[in-house]
């Protein structure tokens, strides 16, 4: 039985829900994320010591923040050299001004922008956001990225160090940079969602189960920046995909999208996504994620129309490839052409690639196999089917492919 007054339960709850908010607040003051993490960790420890005796405070978040700030004052005073910034900080902290602040300001958005800063290596944007805003550990993140946990820990440390030494402001950027910087944030969140799972069969959708975290982040972003069409597009995209989450694997059997039963989709999510897209379209600023969301919307329309509108999907992919060409989009486009019966165009679309870029891209080989089979090129199909299966990480999808291509 969980008791809401139980200090350990509360600490856990506060930790989970408020971690990012508290870190963001502290980090924006200390300008040093690693230090903020240490301060917060000490504050949590103090809570574990004192709350069981004294009871849980009415405003646990504010309490933790106060303790962390007091600790920072100690540390700063003990430091031999103090920067001007630290002097200012000391003044603010030791004044009574914030003593009665019960709610902790939300500075997470600024922190997210810093995590996706151009000076930070692109490959660490997503891990940094997951670690700093959501408190995920290096090990959890490493698992999802298929990186050695030790390596991930080192990369995260280095990135935080960089943010500190380069004095990168942990703030929402100026208007002039905003658009581009926002793209980086949106892409970083999308990356967490798609990790290993490129929304096509072949990879394991449970890769670290980070899709929940990414989902939360996209919802947060859409909520805090409701006038930005791409944030709405991103969240809509995730809603569409999440709506079909439980339909993909049923009793260890993989069910491809066009064979899924629309009844099993989450229609509440689909409705919300439709609304978001509608709102986004009113800004008349098309972008990558709105287009991706529209494509998924077209797939979900099968619930009402009973069929998939391939011509519309093809047009959407053409638009997407104009503004955000990618391996995934190009292969998905080729796949749409194939499904629409345009074999020549599909083959043409697949010929765009050089051997290097597609050699480990499972969806390419899956499509290649289907195309060979359509042309009755059985020898070629046998070869490409082996490669496709060999590149498949998800056991259920592997079994599906072994079945569906059995001679």
């Amino acid at each position: 039985m969980v008791n809401n007054d139980d200090p350990h339960f509360t600490i856990e709850r506060v930790a989970r829900e408020s971690y990012g908010r508290l870190i963001a607040y502290l980090a924006s003051d200390t300008r040093d994320i690693s230090e903020a993490e240490d301060l917060l960790s000490e504050a949590f420890q103090k809570a574990l010591q004192t709350w069981p005796e004294n009871g849980v405070p009415n405003h646990p978040e504010a309490w933790l923040l106060k303790v962390a700030r007091r600790k920072l004052i100690d540390w700063v005073r003990k430091r031999k050299m103090q920067s001007k910034h630290e002097d200012t900080l000391l003044q603010i902290y030791t004044s009574e001004k914030d003593a009665n602040d019960m709610t902790v300001d939300d500075r997470r958005l600024g922190l997210m922008f810093a995590c996706a800063h151009p000076e930070v290596d692109r490959s660490i944007h997503t891990p940094l956001i997951l670690n700093v805003i959501l408190g995920l550990t290096a090990k959890q993140i490493a698992s999802a990225f298929l990186v050695k946990p030790e390596t991930m820990g080192q990369r995260l440390s280095r990135a935080k160090s960089l943010l500190k030494t380069q004095q990168i402001p942990l703030e929402i950027p100026e208007q002039s940079e905003f658009g581009e910087r926002l793209s980086s944030v949106v892409e970083a969140i999308y990356c967490a969602f798609g990790l290993g799972w490129e929304m096509v069969p072949g990879s394991n959708p449970d890769s670290g189960a980070l899709s929940n975290e990414a989902f939360w982040l996209s919802e947060y972003l859409a909520r805090t920046l409701p006038n930005e069409p791409e944030t709405l597009g991103l969240h809509a995209l995730m809603l569409y995909i999440e709506s079909r989450k439980n339909s993909r694997i049923i009793e260890n059997e993989f069910i491809p999208l066009d064979k899924q039963s629309p009844d099993s989709w989450n229609h509440d999510f689909i409705d919300r996504a439709n609304q978001l897209l509608q709102t986004a379209s009113e800004k008349k600023q098309i972008g990558r994620f709105q287009l991706e969301a529209c494509i998924q919307s077209a797939h979900c329309e099968r619930a009402t129309t009973g069929k998939i509108n391939w011509p519309a999907i093809i047009t959407l992919y053409q638009a997407l490839l104009q503004i955000a060409p990618s391996l995934g989009a190009q292969v998905a486009y080729a796949s749409a052409l194939y499904k629409a019966g345009q074999l020549d165009a599909a083959e043409e679309a697949l010929n765009q690639f050089d051997q290097n870029s597609i050699s480990t891209y499972q969806p390419f080989w899956v499509l290649k196999t289907w195309l060979h089979l359509e042309r009755n090129k059985t020898t070629e199909a046998k070869k490409t089917q082996q490669i496709a299966i060999g590149l498949t990480e998800d056991k259920n999808v592997r079994n599906y492919l072994l079945q569906v291509w059995k001679r």
Binding site: K383, Q385, I389, G390
Partner: protein, 122 residues
């Protein structure tokens, strides 16, 4: 850089090898995996090992020989084979390891292969 991808399998999985009905479907994913490794140019060797019950373990201590039936350790998952791959980064090695069929049912260990020491090394 070369990495060994060590295939560790559960008893259930290994037992498929001994069943004429099951051995085909059991081996198929491994054959496909090997094809994919070859096609992408990273395959540098490897072999399947016969069932652990064909193994013999040997020790020599102070001139005394000790021979035991069975593999080195009787653990939940046992070594069933290995792949050697040649890739640019450790991440690439891990990505390939994740696709190994035993990753889904057992475990896969990835370890760098020792490179030759420097000629005048200390």
């Amino acid at each position: 850089m070369q990495y060994a991808v060590l295939v560790y399998e559960t008893e259930t999985e290994l037992s498929n090898r001994l069943d004429p009905e099951k051995v085909g479907p059991y081996m198929a994913p491994y054959a496909a995996y090997w094809q994919a490794l070859e096609e992408s140019g990273v395959a540098a060797g490897g072999n399947g090992l016969e069932h652990p019950n064909t193994a013999t373990t040997l020790r020599v201590r102070d001139g005394k020989r000790e021979v035991q039936d069975g593999p080195f350790a009787d653990t939940k998952e046992m070594l069933g084979g290995l792949f050697i791959i040649d890739v640019e980064t450790e991440e690439e090695a891990l990505q390939w390891a994740a696709k190994c069929p035993s990753a889904s049912t057992g475990s896969v260990e990835v370890r760098p292969i020792m490179s030759d020491p420097e000629p005048d090394g200390e």
